[in-house]
Structures are given as structure tokens and as C-alpha cells.
Amino acid sequence: MAYYGRHLGGGIALAVAALLMASPVHAQDAAALNAEAAQNDWPTHHGTYKSYHYSGLDQINPGNIKNLEIAWMHFPERATRGLQSTPLAVDGVLYYSGSYSRVYALDGATGKTIWAYAPELDEELVAKQTHSPYNRGIAIGQGNLYVGTVDGRLIALNLKTGKPVWDTKLLDSKKMTVGFTGAPLVVKDMVIIGAQGGEWPGRGPIFGVDGKTGQKKWEFFTVAGTEEAMATWGNDSWRTGGGGGWMPGAYDPETNTVWWGTANPAPLYDWSGADWKKSGPRPGDNLYTTSVIALDPDTGKLKFYHQELPHDAWDFDSAVGEFVMIDRGGKKLVVHANKSGYIFVYDRSNAKVENVWPLVKNINFVKSIDPKTGELIGRRDLSEGKAETPLCPAIAGGISWNSGAYSPKTGLYYRIGQEWCQELTVEKTTPILEPMAQLNIGAQFKLVAPPDGPARGHLSARDPVSGEKKWEVTYKAPPLASVLATAGNLVFVPDAEGVVHAYEADSGKEVWSRNNGMGHNAGIISYMAGGKQYIAVPAGWGSLVADEFVALFGEPYKSMPKNTGALIVYTLRQ
């Protein structure tokens, strides 16, 4: 750069230098983001755009994992509701967020703080929020780090210094109550982030923001985002429909398509029974709630979609679930887990259903889902009053909001399933016609054990397309953290009690475990720093699903703190 600066005129010199410096870096970033495996870095929430939660690093393997020990720890401030975020790692630096959108940049080898950032939030608003003040992740791109806030802002920080670059207010959170808790997704020059929604009356927008300037470029309403969709909300119920896209989606560069999952409509439960197309609080299919939608990242225009549960009457979002992009038999597929416990397999070019298979055993909200069309068969649409038998799965879902993992080495998809049901009494509530700072539930419910045994969780290793099971591990309580697979033939599962387990990826044999001392409900990653492989696990208990565990499972959850957390980083002992 100095050479060109001395020999060329100012503007031209800078332009040439920028090209020489930026292009290779940009190309390298794109290659890393598009890869199947995260290698030295963990550059985006789901590992790479293919959403495998898979590290290509293999220093740590079943042969030496007995030497895996804590390298360093970091304790965030104000860890209300524990830690729920997935860290990122770039060039040996680990970045992660905690509650109140506090962000930390740490030396990946030593844990030494490089910078820390704490935004000033609207604390009065935070005090009114139910799903708050946790943060579930960050994004990196254009030399910036991006984080959303529960008071409706998206903030860019300089990646090197942690200094704010821009701070854009996207949502009127005072009116809507909701803000941002999910990680953004960087696609080319755009930062994409989805709002909370679901049980809050609103229209659940997803935003595209210019990464360099912070200027809002587009906004897509997951509730009635098109004329076609508006016609699926009777009695103007689209005004308070819920929706949202509160966890990050993924990107398919081959078709320039962003895949995003959307949340449930409001109220969660509907008293109209079988007449839901014509009566009740939100008559109709309620597009595009509980759907996977494909957006053009440059314009925010809808390309195509599939509504996984038309007129979702059970709070089984599509907002949960990663988008695992795999090629199989000449087909380009994407695998997406729905909260109901069903796994949907789509054609990546048009969201046509290729298969649907159940991950969990206790399902009775439908009799089945047609694996060829995705049509719900034998829907259980409840009317006002007490349901005769418990609804399965419970409101906490057959799967929760954290991610599974896929190993291209074993060809297996590793996913946590949850077995529980709920007693339910549907209440006819007053229709809500304007957005407001209040939940809209419409029922009394209580979580109970399923018919086939105690409430429990399991990790199963399956073919992602057919669902064929190779092995399974059962847990007394469902693990709520993400799963990590590595090229070292390992699968890591941070569990609810506080123990991190490592299994052989091909056999399911447990080969290592350590107790972190508090439950996990965040994302686990692997990265390289100074030539060594590290495993980073945020520990710290307290999500809304975690809150159910006291009544269901008693100790250790009854006495487990929900206002503390730690990032615990492991590496091989020398």
C-alpha cells in the first residue's frame, strides 16, 4: 500500500490499493462462508451458510479427547437469563454477546479482553418485555460486528476496536414490545435481521440493512407481506397477526436466496376448531406465519415459500431450525426442523416438499404430514374449553430454538428432540385489533409427561433426508443448547444439567464429559487460534423453555441460578 501511495496520485492510489487489499479478503470470506465446514474460523451463526454447525478441525478426536481441558473462561456482566448466544471466531479472536446485547472480543488463545461494548438500552421498556433481555448472537462482515437489541435497534461496531459505527432504530419497540434477540445474517453488503413476534400482536418484519451505512434497504412483513397473504387473514386480523423471524436463516449463493423461518400467528391458540378458515380470531391460513420463506437479499422480495403449518393453532413456529443445505442424488436440498418435531426436506430451487419425517415420538396435533406434499393430515383443531387429552408436543416444542449439526463426513444429522405434552384449555379472548404491549395467548396450559413415559429429551443421529436413525442417546431432561459436529469424528452436546458430552460421531459412544456447573442454552463452536483447536461453550441457564424445567424435573433446576453465565473454552492439554 505504501508503495502505491508514493507513486500514484491520491484518489487513484487509494482506489487501486482498496482493490488490491479488499478483493482477496472478500473472496476468502465468501469461500469460508460458502464452505461445508467451518475451518479455522466460525464466521457466521450457523457455522457457514450451509448451516451444518460443523467444524472441519480434527486436532481433537476420540483418541486424545481425554486430554481436553479448560483453557480459559470469561464471565459476562449482567447475565440475566444466563447465556443464550452462539459465539463467532475470526482470525483467532472470539466474539460473543450476552444479555442486554453486551458484546465481547477476546483473544481466542488466552481469553484476554480486546474490547467490550455495552449499549445503553431503554431499561423501562426492557422491564415490560417477556422474552428479554437475552441476546442469541451476532454477525460479522464489512469490517463490522452487528448486534440487535431488545429495544428495536441494529448496531454496527468496528470489529477491531468495538467502537460504534452506526446505530439504526428499526422497530417502534415501545409500541410493539418486541425487539431483536436473534443473530443477524450478513449476505454480501446487507445485514438481515428478523424481529421477535409470535404471541405479540404485530406484523413480524424482517429487515435488510446496508452494512456500511446502517440505512434500511427493505422490510418484509411475515404477516400479510403480499396481497396474496393479506387475503389469508380474515377480519383484518393481519394487523395483529404475530409472526416474526426471531432466529437467523441462511443463504444459498447459487440462487442468491435467503432462507428464513417465520414464527407463529397470534393468538397462539384458537377457539374456532374445525371452522378455522371462516371463524375465530384469525380466520384463514395466516400467511406467512409458521413458514419457510425465500427472499431476495438485495430487495427483500419474496421468491417462494412453503407454509409448514397452515393456520398454526399450536405455537409450532418455523422460526426455529437451521437450514441444512445438502446435495443428494443430483438434487439440491435444504433440511429444516419445525418446532412441532417434524423435519421438512425441500428442493432448494422452489421450496417444493421432498420429504417430511418426525424426529420425536409423541405427536398428536396432526395424525401425520404427507411426506410428498407437506399436507397436514388429521389436524387437531381445538375448540373453546378443555382438550380431552393432552396436546403433544407441548408449547416448548418437539424441537427447541437451538440448532442441530450435520457432518458431511458421516452423512448424519444430529438433532435434539423433546418428548412432552400439555394439558390445555382454550379460552375465547377479546379480539385484538391494534398492536399493543401485551402477549396474546388464548389458553391455559400445563406441561405434562407424554403417554409413552417420562418427559425427556434425546439426541439422534439420522439420515437428514430419510430420517433413518443410526443411533440415539436419551437424556432425563432435554438439552437446550446447539449441537456441534467436528471432522475429528466427534459430536458435542452441552446438556441442561451443566455437563458437556462428546460422542463418537459415527457410533454414538460417549468418549468425554465435563461439568460446567450450570445449564446450557446457547451455541457451541470450534475454532483455531495459534495453531490449536478450541471448543467454546457458553454456559448459563434461563431461557423461557428452561423456565419450564423446575416444575417438570425439580432439582438441579430449582436451585440453578438464572442470572449468571460463563464462556468456557476447552483445548487439548499439552
Partner: protein
């Protein structure tokens, strides 16, 4: 001090004619846009059970009869003042503050519903 159930229930019944209830029914402005739809319904429409099912039941399960995300509320030994204060101010990281969302009358209606719960 604990309000007798009869008094609480009477307050809930009488509430539709309370002056501040009328204010709650005015069209929403910037300062009052958080008022829930129930406050704009007919004056005799404060239904504690319905309000509970709309909002509170997300955490206080089985209509408040069972512990879930939040504690069991039926047969609570907490005082009326404590419950009203908790509804208004919430608890950081555990329960939202509804003081700016619900009117006093609505909070009393919810309290009356809680006090009337069987196990």
C-alpha cells in the same frame, strides 16, 4: 393488609363505573397506545379469567393453578398489595412489568381471578 375476596370482587364489578376506567376507554394516543384492546371493549367487559388466559397464562400455567415458567398463584399466601405491586413492576429477568399496560381496574380483576382459584 389483605383485601377480603368480597371487596376485591366488588371492586372488579364496580370498576366499569370508576372514573379512570373511562379514561382508559378513550382512543389511544401516543402516550396511551399501550392500552390493551380489552380496555376499549364494553364497560362491563373486564374479565379477569380472560385477561389471565390472554397474557398471564403463558408463564403461570393451568390458569395459575400450577407452577410452570412462573410460580403457582392459587392459594398464594402473598398479600394483595404484593401481587398488585408485582403485576405492576414485574421482576427483572423473570416477569414483565404490566403497570403501564393494564389499568388499575384490570389488575384488580386479575387479582380477583387469582383469589378465586381453586387448586
Amino acid at each position: 393488609m389483605k383485601l377480603p375476596i368480597v371487596i376485591v370482587a366488588s371492586l372488579a364489578v364496580l370498576w366499569p363505573w370508576h372514573p379512570s376506567r373511562v379514561a382508559a376507554e378513550q382512543p389511544a394516543t401516543a402516550g396511551t397506545s399501550n392500552r390493551p384492546a380489552q380496555a376499549e371493549a364494553s364497560p362491563d367487559d373486564i374479565n379477569g379469567e380472560q385477561m389471565f388466559a390472554t397474557t398471564c397464562g403463558f408463564c403461570h400455567q393451568n390458569g395459575g393453578r400450577s407452577a410452570g415458567r412462573g410460580p403457582k398463584l392459587s392459594k398464594s399466601e402473598r398479600s394483595d398489595e404484593y401481587i398488585i405491586e408485582r403485576i405492576k413492576k414485574g421482576k427483572a429477568g423473570a416477569m414483565p412489568a404490566f403497570g403501564a399496560v393494564f389499568s388499575d381496574g384490570q389488575i384488580i380483576a386479575i387479582l380477583a381471578y387469582i383469589r378465586g382459584l381453586d387448586d
